[in-house]
């Protein structure tokens, strides 16, 4: 690489600590025009921290940042943006009160005379971006209430609208299904071909191999390896990230289905989903598959009682549920791991142990008081089972990495030992090793007699874990595919409604 032009943006031996946590240790990395670089590493390896240094959110404690070979300092996100860096952060950063179009163009709205914002142009440009991404989002819709996937899509549109020289994507696909990912990659490739440098982070290895030319791996904040994608196979990458061999990724155990634990009949919420009926037996793992926006999470929320339903019924263990009462559902042994960990899953300011205890306060209680000791024991147990990377259980969940926050949400609900467990994108943002661990746990729980309903946009996860696959499309249940015949083709055909149309 001696005679190649200098990288557009580069880090040289950059270090960053948060108090006692050394998030990055002398990490170097180069982003080259016309090339997509993947950043790999386990949860808490320091990937998002690195992104935030490139985007001017954090200042490095040591080391240098090079723009076109020249040292620069970013004093804030505005500086990085001015240098042509566009970022999709791991956690959506939308303004809920503003419209989708305003969210995309905030601070850069097209203007007419007198500096007046040209709303029509703004709307048209937003609509054009969505057409390019192939998603049916309305630019005039308020951002409040968008699903995680839709929020992610708005973030993507926002980054694309910047015509950046450097496009950084921190787990943009974590909540997306195959279709949207294909679209996104199409757009990312054309940007790359136009000379944009791309940095891509994902825990889905196939995506890394699909999109990128090179990969830089981090472990515990340190730089481990730089590889050309063409020279390695996924197992090599896993070994670099984890530092050891990993067993089979989907160790699904077979369980004998017992009696019906969750029965949903003709459930309808007007404008959201229609006439959804299914049942989940004890010992079974049933996956709910479909494209983003098909209404899967909405069904889960209604079953659990977060949203009301307009018609139909839900029974848990033979007892009918009242609509709109999560407390009643929980009393009957229902648990829901929601898709949006920051808004619905966690209280960001509270400690890890308190968050884990929240869903089961009755079990860590001494009379009217909460027992700190019981809380800590419960948290310590689950932190270890899920390999939570943390400094102290008394730290606020706010400072955890994205994947580790997800583990806390899982721990919070698994610790309740529910009889019916609904998990919505349970491994969103979780690294390969822990993903296997979560899958093992779910499988074990099922064998132990729990009914599991799993929503997932990741097909390998669906195919690997589920005894049966239910497929939703446009708010309706369109197919039920048993494990034996569930393949990528049959599920996708049912989800998209083309080519066979499902079982």
């Amino acid at each position: 690489m001696a005679d190649s032009p200098p990288p557009v943006l580069a880090l040289r031996e950059v270090s960053k600590s948060f108090g006692a946590v050394r998030a990055l240790r002398e990490v170097s990395l180069s982003l080259i025009a016309g090339e997509a670089l993947a950043l790999a590493g386990e949860n808490g390896a320091g990937k998002s921290t690195l992104v935030k240094i490139l985007s001017g959110v954090h200042r490095p404690d040591a080391g240098r940042l090079l723009l076109d070979g020249e040292p620069v300092e970013f004093h804030g996100p505005a500086d990085a943006q001015a240098a042509g860096v566009a970022v999709i952060y791991q956690e959506p950063t939308l303004f809920p009160d503003l419209t989708v179009a305003e969210n995309i163009f905030m601070g850069r709205q097209p203007r007419g005379r007198l500096g007046r914002i040209d709303r029509r142009a703004m709307r048209a440009q937003a609509a054009a971006l969505f057409t390019r991404l192939g998603v049916p989002l309305d630019p005039e819709q308020p951002a409040r209430g968008l699903s995680i996937a839709d929020q992610q899509l708005v973030e993507i549109a926002k980054a694309l609208s910047r015509d950046a020289r450097v496009l950084i994507m921190d787990e943009p696909t974590a909540a997306l299904s195959g279709n949207e990912v294909t679209r996104l990659f199409g757009v990312a490739r054309s940007l790359r071909e136009q000379g944009c440098a791309v940095l891509f982070i994902s825990h889905r290895l196939d995506e890394i191999f699909d999109l990128c030319q090179r990969v830089t791996t981090l472990r515990d904040g340190g730089h481990v390896a730089d590889d050309r994608i063409a020279d390695i196979i996924p197992d090599d990458l896993v070994r670099r990230m984890v530092g050891r061999e990993l067993g089979a990724l989907f160790p699904k155990q077979d369980a004998v289905p017992g009696e019906v634990a969750l029965q949903v009949r003709r459930l309808t919420r007007e404008g959201v989903f229609t006439d959804v009926s299914f049942e989940v037996r004890r010992g079974e793992i049933v996956a709910l598959a479909g494209l983003v926006g098909a209404g899967r999470s909405e069904v889960a929320r209604a079953v659990f009682g977060v949203d009301r339903w307009d018609a139909g019924s839900v029974q848990v263990g033979g007892r009918a549920l009242r609509p709109g009462s999560p407390a009643a559902s929980m009393a009957l042994g229902l648990a829901l791991v929601p898709e949006d960990r920051r808004q619905q899953g966690l209280v960001m300011e509270l400690s890890i142990e308190r968050n884990i205890a929240l869903a089961g306060l009755a079990e860590v209680r001494h009379g009217p008081l909460i027992s700190r000791a019981a809380e800590r024991v419960r948290a310590a147990d689950w932190a270890q089972r899920l390999q939570l990377r943390h400094r102290s259980l008394a730290d606020a969940v706010d400072v955890l990495s994205g994947g580790n926050q997800q583990k806390v949400v899982l721990a919070k609900w698994l610790a309740r030992q529910p009889s019916v467990l609904i998990v919505d994108e349970p491994t969103r943002g979780i690294d390969v090793a822990t993903k296997a661990e979560v899958h093992r746990l779910l499988s074990e729980l099922a064998v132990g007699g729990i009914a599991v309903l799993m929503i997932s946009s990741e097909l390998p996860e669906v195919l690997g874990m589920a005894d049966r696959v239910l497929v939703m499309r446009e708010g309706r249940l369109v197919a039920e595919i048993p494990r034996g015949t569930a393949t990528e083709e049959t599920v996708m055909a049912a989800a998209t409604g083309i080519g066979g149309g499902g079982a």
Partner: protein
């Protein structure tokens, strides 16, 4: 591949948008309806309430609160609050009156400009405390609420400026009508329209909403948060300074206690006007209408000969009613939108 989960046609988008827009307007329309009911009922009981004099009085009385509510809205939208406005009004009213009384030859424009500058300086102190020193706005402006009032008392030293001490040309500003509308009300309306336009149409205006809607995201978006927050406080202070000059012109007799306690009326007007107290949404038009409604209620209660002691309680009850109504309306609208999307999708 071009498959997507739903493919909304143009009809869905347009109808959805039309409804949203209509509802956005309805939020303010709700207050207009409340105003109509108030005037209708009170007028039926006592027709004098609808007389020109009475209406002009109400306009005049609400002008100052409306002006302050406009400034307050700028601050509240950014998820902050300015409790010190009443003290700024007091300081500016007394200062302006005293300077005029001592220097009768001074052009009135200079005095008013001085009042505005004094207010802006007070606002800058608030803004620096909140934006730069990161003191929570509630605490910072509670502190300056007392501090500014203290300065006012120290400056006055028990003195009082009477109408007789001030030039008539100044006092006439407080009551003179232009085309039948009191000048003060016209000033408030002009400020209202200007600020309303800026909030809706300028990038900086939209950025205020962004800051209040999600402060952390505003930083990531590269918005100059500190600068915007400071500007909002300075604007609120400047408008309070202007309101102080209006206060002196309107009441003639000013002492150091002028406008004490008015900050709560202002915040009530803002909240009743549909500005979210946690920032990110609401308009200055709503806030101004809120000021008009609250002033109207007070006048009506007086006209209806409601016991003065009961008035405060009734005022409070009506404020709560207005907010509950607003909340119910928002829920209704959300449900209606959902149903509509459903019908369109079929």
């Amino acid at each position: 591949m071009t498959i997507t989960a739903k493919r909304p046609g143009a009809t869905l988008r347009d109808s959805g948008r039309g409804l949203v827009e209509r509802v956005a307007r309805v939020r303010e329309l709700g207050i207009v309806v409340a105003l109509a009911v108030l005037f209708g009922v009170t007028g039926a009981v006592n027709p004098e309430f609808l007389g020109l004099d009475s209406l002009r009085d109400i306009l005049l009385n609400s002008a100052i609160i409306a002006m302050l509510a406009v400034g307050q809205t700028l601050v509240v939208i950014t998820r902050n609050v300015d409790l010190s406005v009443s003290s700024v009004v007091g300081l500016s009213a007394f200062g302006g009156a005293l300077v005029l009384a001592d220097n009768p030859g001074l052009p009135i424009v200079v005095v008013i400009a001085g009042c505005v500058l004094l207010g802006a300086a007070c606002g800058a102190i608030n803004g620096l405390l909140v934006g730069a020193a990161k003191v929570p706005a509630l605490v910072a402006t509670l502190g300056t609420l007392y501090a500014f009032r203290g300065i006012d008392y120290a400056w006055a030293g028990g003195r009082q400026v009477n109408a007789a001490d001030m030039p008539d040309s100044f006092l006439s500003l407080g009551s003179r009508p232009v085309l039948g509308v009191p000048l003060l009300a016209l000033a408030a309306i002009a400020v209202l329209l200007a600020v309303g336009w800026m909030l809706r149409n300028l990038r900086s205006g939209r950025e205020l909403y962004a800051i209040g809607s999600n402060p952390a995201a505003a930083v990531l978006a590269g918005i100059p948060v500190r600068k915007r927050v400071i500007t909002a406080f300075v604007a609120s202070g400047a408008l309070a300074g202007l309101a102080g000059a209006m206060w002196a012109a309107r009441f003639g007799t000013v002492d150091a206690a002028a406008a004490t306690g008015k900050e709560l009326d202002v915040i009530a007007a803002v909240v009743v006007g549909g500005v979210a107290i946690f920032g990110g949404s609401g308009t200055v038009y709503g806030a101004a209408l809120g000021a008009l409604l609250l002033t109207g209620i007070s006048s009506a209660l007086a006209v209806l000969r409601v016991d003065a002691l009961a008035q405060t309680a009734i005022n409070g009850a009506l404020i709560i009613a207005a907010i509950v109504l607003d909340r119910l309306l928002a829920l209704r609208v959300a449900a209606a939108l959902r149903r509509r999307r459903y019908r369109d999708a079929r």
